[in-house]
Point group: C2
Chain length 266, copies 2
């Protein structure tokens, strides 16, 4: 079996997120539901990106293909550089396979690169780091053309205060207070290498680079940073929030639409 690594872009607006309904591993629920209807005519709102790709690859291969993403993205979150891998028997060149996949994909998902990789490569297990970008439109005037990709925050925001708050969050910490996951079995310790905050015209871009992020982590970090920017919270509160490990001490969950997975490193 050949092993392929693909880089994907998608606009998350219409989807229930990356991950297939029914579990982390080759869940059958979503597949079963769609088995009697064309994979090209499904109502995308009910589907996940992983499910959509698996159905498509399985049709091309003529047998079930399992695809592994570098990690989940929530419903509504976008990707400029999601990475996924899958094993498949095919006589097509990698380029021809990419072209074939793209010809079947809806217009809000695209494979932008493909390469054949050694058999042991696994998009999730091999991921070493991830970069997310969150775009805030800091203006009272809506931006018509970018509205699906930004969170509009009309209030004045203190970038300096947000940078200071971010500096407390960088590094290795237990981010339990910054995740929506209830069950406490797995480690919630993660390392954020950097949080960069840059004003670009009427937008503010927040770039998060780290070794991995918990469920909702970037969006809760964003909600907390924006409260700091509005002066409703002091940057110096960050260590106590981390320390507490309590979700209710952190800020609200920022909207999904502002968030995009930019890059995964291996």
């Amino acid at each position: 079996m050949r092993n392929f690594k693909i880089v994907l872009q998608y606009e998350g607006t219409r989807y229930k997120g990356w991950q297939k309904q029914g579990g982390t591993n080759a869940g059958r629920r979503e597949d079963a539901e769609s088995s009697d209807s064309s994979f090209l005519e499904t109502n995308a709102k009910e589907y996940t990106i992983q499910g959509k790709l698996e159905r498509l690859l399985s049709r091309i291969a003529g047998e079930p293909v399992e695809i592994h993403g570098s990690g989940r993205t929530d419903a509504g979150v976008h990707a400029y550089g999601q990475v996924a891998s899958f094993h498949m028997d095919t006589k097509l060149t990698a380029e021809a396979l990419m072209e074939k996949i793209n010809s079947y994909l809806p217009e809000d998902i695209a494979v932008i690169s493909i390469e054949e990789v050694p058999d042991r490569f696994h998009a999730r297990l091999g991921a070493k780091g991830k970069t997310y970008r969150y775009r805030v439109l800091n203006s009272s005037v809506p931006h018509i053309f970018e509205r699906r990709y930004v969170w509009q925050v009309p209030e004045k925001l203190d970038v300096q205060a947000m940078c200071k708050a971010a500096s407390y969050l960088e590094g290795t910490h237990d981010f339990k207070a910054f995740t929506s996951t209830k069950k406490g079995k797995k480690s919630t310790v993660r390392t954020i290498e950097a949080i960069e905050i840059v004003r670009c015209g009427d937008e503010i871009h927040f770039t998060f680079r780290g070794n991995g992020f918990l469920f909702h982590m970037v969006r809760i970090l964003m909600g907390t940073l924006i409260e700091t920017g509005k002066k409703n919270r002091r940057p110096e509160e960050m260590p106590a929030i981390l320390e507490s490990g309590l979700r209710e001490n952190a800020g609200p969950l920022a909207p999904a639409c502002g968030l995009a997975l930019m890059e995964v490193s291996y």
Copy 2:
């Protein structure tokens, strides 16, 4: 009555274009259809931008308000800087009126500036020049996030050849061959001040500046220029096409989605 000039942005994807169904002047057909349902709950796909704005302004004013755009935009064409004017009795400041309008507008239309102007100002009659931009994505890889705003042309395009063809089209000409209007009563002579063609990464941007453009004119110019870029037509053919005045001698109608009205000058 106070007279207001507004600058509008809209994403044309969902709309039947700028102009109200039922004629150039305060047509009643569209208004009548919607009179018994809330203007906030209309199915936008059936509506025009002008119709939507007139219903909204009439509600705010409590009496019929007529709005004049600088000109029509076709179904699916976008605007970064459409200008419109309307007379209205209101005690609101211009800024408060803009805020009120924006609070009722759907998320794909926004007023980005407003000013009170002398009574004689009329957005259509006073317009001296217009700038349109057409975006071509010159790549075989689709651009997920910009797909609503570009025409994807994967074939290799010769920018030099297109620039040469454009130079024949600049100036004052009878553009009868470049319009879809059948009736030949009105003058089809227009002046194109400049056609600028610039490669920006994997996109090519075409900027058209002129004193006015006929129905479908920019899109037929684009269809013709792209044929030249693909080497299916020689730049030197342009004068003969203009001369002929025959629509069938020009190229195909380029898709609406790549086109945007950028600016109107007075």
